[in-house]
């Protein structure tokens, strides 16, 4: 048969590689800065853009979508061509994908720092960017499928199964969770409210971890690990079982982020059991990685690439075991809202995603520049710095999470809470400091890598188009009986459809009843829509990222009810677009904040939290005192809410601002009584209005009715 000659496109891989390194460092710097702010609030510089509530979404988005995202594309563009024995389908699409993705990242960075956010974790980007992501994702899909279809290899290797499942699932997750109604160019409200919004969001949020940080990276592992170790993959059978089991089961596990919340119990239980069933499929990937190294462990001692891979795969195994454990309700009762979760995700992020990205870079750069790595020793030092960094990051966070949670739950024999919230925070400050040292070490290691790669590149010559040859694929009518999965491996489109069906099942079964069955969210008659001023205040709450540190979800625990008040009911959130339950309590829960403090307390507290609660680590929000509230957006916001089913009277949008001013004036007058002069149209007034409203409606309900709900 005639052998065809063709060229792999290395240039696009190089571009994504540079982006990976640059955004990795940017994202880690943002993380380090945010970590320092937790114990040294003044380092927010008292600027809106650099305060924790905006910096934290920047950190998470930069790491997930810019650093890991680019590293995935880098690895896919490299491996897909070689596994398909074909150049990418279209160079033009490759470059549209590349520049489109970088433009999205730039837009994300700017808007997040501006405070433009939807208030849903890892989906903070506003609707124009959401649309751009969808388009670029489709471009990537066409390019990938085009390449697969014109391949010269008959069967699809396991790495490509993972790429396909990733593509189709991320598309589904992104589109469903980003359903929002635009109010203006940079503001929208989530289509869903309260409990439903929470369910959709964590279905998305959990599977962002599953299908953006796990499945594509597993695909990369399946290519780069056997290549680097020069060993055969341990078990094809295991690949098949763990792949299909993983994608089917993963999608169900989202509700484990909402245990003991107002989400119906049956949905929580589904989250628990599917998380537990995830252990084996997840570990299938780890086993296939580690057992592939059988007979090559002597190489691990020498080769930094393999060193990084071994730790990455081990971290993957640890966090995928820990995840199901954290999904057990009795463990979750301790871990949730604490730093334990932070430790858990960073084992995955720093260990699995970070280390595998580094391994791939160390593997590819010498090959694409045709020269050995500049310094193996430097790479080994990077490895050790990174590993120590991970330990120094994770151990204090585990400790802090456990200790703080136990303090929250401590009672005196008289039945009083033993610790005030603030005591539990100041107590773990030293651990926060150690954590940031760990992060700094990890970042230093990354700088080592930059030096190493730059020196390597300087030494070698870049091969932009790498020559390769293979025989074209011919349709042979072989009637030989093939293993069923081998047949599937010849049919990429069937595989795509099958993946989509499998991942759609879990979401549908969890969401449809929650949306349609009334008893899941019992109505509470006294819960009323927000006033226009409160609505504006709520948008400020979202804009400043308050949800990154404050939850609004009192779980049915003795200590939480004692500390915060009656536990949260599903019916309380029906007008919350988006929900703001939060996932972390760096500060106390705010679900019953309304009426707890005076207006002047909030005013002073926003100006400088430490005057009202000495030792507080909350940043100052001085600009809220000066900024004038933009009331021109009120009518559009009311109309959007009406579209979403919030029962404002017809034509209310026209008179909403009059109501807004009336309420603002009364708050300003109230502040004046406490010798605080503020214009009624300051943003702080709207925020106070919202804070004083949270969780109050239910108090108007007769006791009997509350008891019957839920």
């Amino acid at each position: 048969m005639q052998v065809e000659k063709f060229y792999y496109d290395n240039k696009i891989v190089k571009a994504f590689g540079i982006a990976t390194v640059v955004f990795g460092i940017v994202g880690m710097l943002a993380g380090l800065w945010a970590a320092i702010q937790i114990y040294y609030p003044e380092s927010s510089l008292n600027l809106a853009a650099t305060t924790f509530g905006r910096l934290r979404p920047l950190h998470t988005n930069a790491i997930i979508f810019a650093f890991v995202g680019n590293s995935i594309f880098m690895g896919i563009y490299y491996s897909l061509q070689r596994l398909c024995k074909a150049r990418m389908f279209s160079d033009k699409l490759s470059w549209i994908h590349f520049w489109g993705w970088q433009a999205i990242i730039a837009a994300a960075a700017i808007t997040l720092l501006m405070g433009v956010t939807t208030g849903k974790e890892y989906a903070e980007l506003e609707w124009p960017i959401d649309i751009a992501i969808t388009l670029i994702w489709v471009v990537f899909g066409i390019n990938m499928f085009g390449t697969i279809l014109k391949r010269r290899e008959k069967h699809l290797y396991v790495a490509i199964w993972f790429y396909i499942a990733t593509w189709v699932t991320v598309a589904m997750l992104h589109i469903v969770n980003s359903m929002e109604i635009p109010v203006s160019f940079l503001k929208s409200y989530s289509w869903y409210a309260g409990v439903q919004d929470a369910l959709v969001q964590w279905w998305y949020g959990h599977n962002a971890v599953a299908f953006f940080l796990t499945t594509p990276v597993l695909g990369l592992m399946y290519y780069f690990l056997p290549k680097a170790a020069n060993r055969p993959v341990y078990s094809y059978r295991l690949s098949i079982i763990h792949f299909w089991a993983l994608i089917f089961i993963y999608i169900w596990a989202g509700p484990h982020h909402l245990l003991y919340t107002a989400l119906p119990d049956w949905a929580q239980s589904l989250g628990v059991v599917f998380s537990v069933m995830l252990i084996a499929p997840s570990w299938g990937g780890m086993l296939n990685g580690l057992f592939t190294l059988r007979g090559a462990w002597d190489k691990v001692r020498e080769d930094p690439v393999l060193k990084f891979m071994v730790v990455a795969v081990t971290c993957y195994g640890m966090s995928t075991f820990e995840g199901p454990m954290l999904s057990l309700k009795n463990v979750n009762a301790i871990s949730h809202f604490s730093d334990w979760t932070i430790a858990h995700v960073h084992i995955g992020g720093l260990g699995w995603n970070g280390f595998l990205a580094f391994a791939i870079l160390y593997y590819m750069v010498p090959r694409m520049w045709g020269t050995p790595l500049y310094s193996k020793k430097l790479a080994t030092n990077h490895f050790w710095l990174g590993t120590i960094g991970i330990v120094l990051y994770a151990v204090p966070m585990y400790w802090a999470g456990f200790e703080q949670s136990i303090m929250w739950k401590s009672f005196t024999p008289e039945g009083q809470l033993k610790f005030q919230f603030l005591e539990t925070v100041t107590n773990i400050k030293p651990l926060y400091i150690v954590r940031s040292i760990g992060g700094a070490l990890y970042l230093t290691g990354a700088f080592f890598m930059v030096v190493n790669l730059v020196k390597t590149i300087a030494k070698g010559r870049f091969v932009a188009n790498e020559e390769a040859e293979a025989a074209p694929l011919v349709k042979e009518a072989s009637h030989k009986k093939e293993y069923w999965h081998r047949i599937l491996e010849r049919k990429p489109v069937t595989m795509l459809v099958l993946s989509l069906i499998l991942v759609a099942i879990g979401g549908l079964i969890e969401m449809i009843p929650t949306f349609l069955v009334k008893s899941n969210i019992p109505t509470i008659a006294s819960v009323k829509p927000y006033t226009p001023l409160e609505l504006q205040g709520r948008d400020i709450y979202v804009r400043e990222g308050c949800y990154t540190c404050h939850s609004q979800m009192i779980r049915p625990f003795r200590d939480e009810v004692k500390r915060y008040g009656e536990y949260s009911k599903a019916g309380e959130f029906v007008y919350d677009h988006p929900f703001q339950w939060g996932s972390k309590r760096t500060g106390p829960d705010l679900a019953r904040e309304g009426g707890r403090q005076t207006d002047s307390w909030h005013y002073n507290h926003m100006y400088d939290p430490r005057t009202m609660s000495p030792g507080s680590i909350m940043p100052r929000y001085v600009w809220l005192l000066d900024n004038a509230l933009d009331t021109s957006s009120t009518p559009a916001k009311i109309r959007a809410m009406q579209t979403l089913g919030v029962p404002y009277p017809d034509g209310y949008d026209k008179i909403a601002n009059a109501d807004l001013m009336k309420q603002a004036d009364s708050i300003a007058a109230n502040l004046k009584k406490d010798k605080i002069e503020t214009p009624s149209n300051a943003e702080i007034v709207a925020l106070i209005a919202y804070l004083q409203r949270i969780g109050r409606d239910i108090k108007a309900e007769p006791k009997q009715a509350i008891a019957e709900n839920k």
Partner: protein, 411 residues
């Protein structure tokens, strides 16, 4: 190298010995402090578990070190100083376990005073335990360094020329050898790898068709069974409690316990039974809470209502005027329940009834202290007939709990 590996695998058996050692030392320690509270502290428990784990690691490393040293010495001198190195290990183990014991006993007196604590433990306990863990880590590092040093020597020696045939034979043996770990995972010897090769070739990547590790497969089945049982128990048979039921049980249980405790201590105080506590100890305790707690941020350090030279959020508590009544019962009620929407929050979840009575008594005792700078009077004139004669009374007001919004400037 081979005898050495065998030696290491033998040490696994010897770990049993280490367990024995630990089981001997730990009960001694556990029996030491009769105070059981240390075990109910999760942080302490974590520490203890950590210490035991590290101890086990030390034990294992110690045996490996002995093995390595043994091998080295045998080769070098043909003498048997194993006993000596075993002694070293024993000393190590015993010294760490005796530290253990100190940690336990030090905890006892400290735990009872426990005025300031770290994670619910007395500071001395905390530091001793942290020091033990640190020490154990140091020992581990030392052991690792030693093992590394010995192994390096070993490696160099092995690298020395041996006959080709010997090398080939050793390699062949290795390829056919199956360790317990390999058997546990149903792995085939490396020599039979070719039989498993599926002949796939993706850019040079081959695939084997190893059997699924049995523990993995049965573990998977087990989690599926777990899922079925879980759903059955909580949603079909309803033998497991719902979140709400769990909450109600927890509260009921706690309330019962609290009641018993208070009955035992004779401190069942509420707003109907509270009386002015004139004992110095009570007033001092009230003062301590007032000054340490959040009271001063609204009422000022001297209760004058002046905070940092400015009128604070709360009223002057030393004058004759009261917003919510000035009797001991009124003050107790105000602290316990707060005044909704007026800045005074409820402190009943922070302080016990006894403590609130102490604070209220302390506040009562401040009457007429006349701080240098005071906030303007707020509320109604109140004269207490029981405790102190009024100095500037005009008329006696009733002490009903009424918040007079129209008169109030603050709050």
């Amino acid at each position: 190298m081979l005898p050495f590996i065998r030696k290491i695998s033998k040490t696994v058996l010897r770990i049993l010995g280490v367990f024995l050692l630990i089981s001997v030392t730990t009960p001694v320690w556990a029996a030491g402090p009769p105070e059981p509270s240390i075990f109910s502290n999760p942080l302490a428990l974590t520490f203890i578990i950590l210490m035991i784990l590290l101890l086990i690691i030390i034990g294992i490393l110690g045996y490996i070190l002995i093995g390595a040293a043994d091998l080295k010495l045998k080769k070098e001198k043909r003498s048997t100083p194993v006993a000596a190195s075993a002694m070293v290990l024993f000393v190590l183990l015993l010294s760490s376990s005796s530290l253990f014991a100190q940690g336990g006993t030090a905890a006892e007196p400290a735990a009872q005073t426990a005025a300031s604590n770290i994670g619910g433990m007395a500071p001395s306990t905390f530091y001793v335990m942290a020091a033990v863990v640190f020490l154990e880590l140091l020992i581990i590092i030392t052991l690792l360094l030693n093992i590394r040093f010995l192994l390096k020597k070993e490696k160099e020696r092995i690298a020395e020329p041996v006959t080709e045939a010997e090398i080939a034979k050793a390699a062949e043996e290795k390829r056919n050898h199956l360790s317990w770990w390999d058997k546990f995972n149903s792995l085939r010897p490396v020599s039979q790898e070719a039989d498993l090769d599926l002949g796939h070739d993706y850019d040079g990547i081959r695939e084997l068709n190893n059997r699924l590790p049995p523990w993995w497969l049965y573990g998977f089945y087990l989690t599926i069974i777990f899922a079925g049982v879980y759903l059955w128990r909580f949603h079909i048979s309803h033998t497991g409690p719902s979140s709400k039921e769990e909450y109600e049980t927890a509260v009921a249980k706690a309330e019962l316990k609290e009641k018993e405790y208070l009955k035992m201590k004779g401190e069942n105080i509420d707003e109907n039974t509270v009386v002015f506590l004139s004992a110095k100890a009570d007033l001092d305790a009230g003062k301590a809470i007032f000054e340490k707690g959040a009271c001063i941020s609204c009422h000022g350090t001297d209760a004058s209502g002046i905070v940092f030279g400015q009128p604070g959020v709360g009223p002057n508590l030393t004058d004759d005027y009261w917003l919510n009544g000035g009797s001991i019962k009124n003050i107790f009620t105000t602290i316990k329940y707060g005044v909704a929407g007026k800045g005074m929050q409820s402190w009943s979840s922070t302080y016990s009834a006894k403590e609130i009575a102490q604070i209220a008594s302390y506040i009562k005792s401040l009457h007429g202290t006349k701080p240098v700078k005071v906030k303007d009077p707020q509320g109604e004139l109140y004269k207490d007939e029981e405790t102190k004669p009024a100095t500037d009374s005009l008329k006696i007001m009733n002490d009903s709990i009424k918040a007079k919004d129209n008169k109030v400037a603050m709050n």
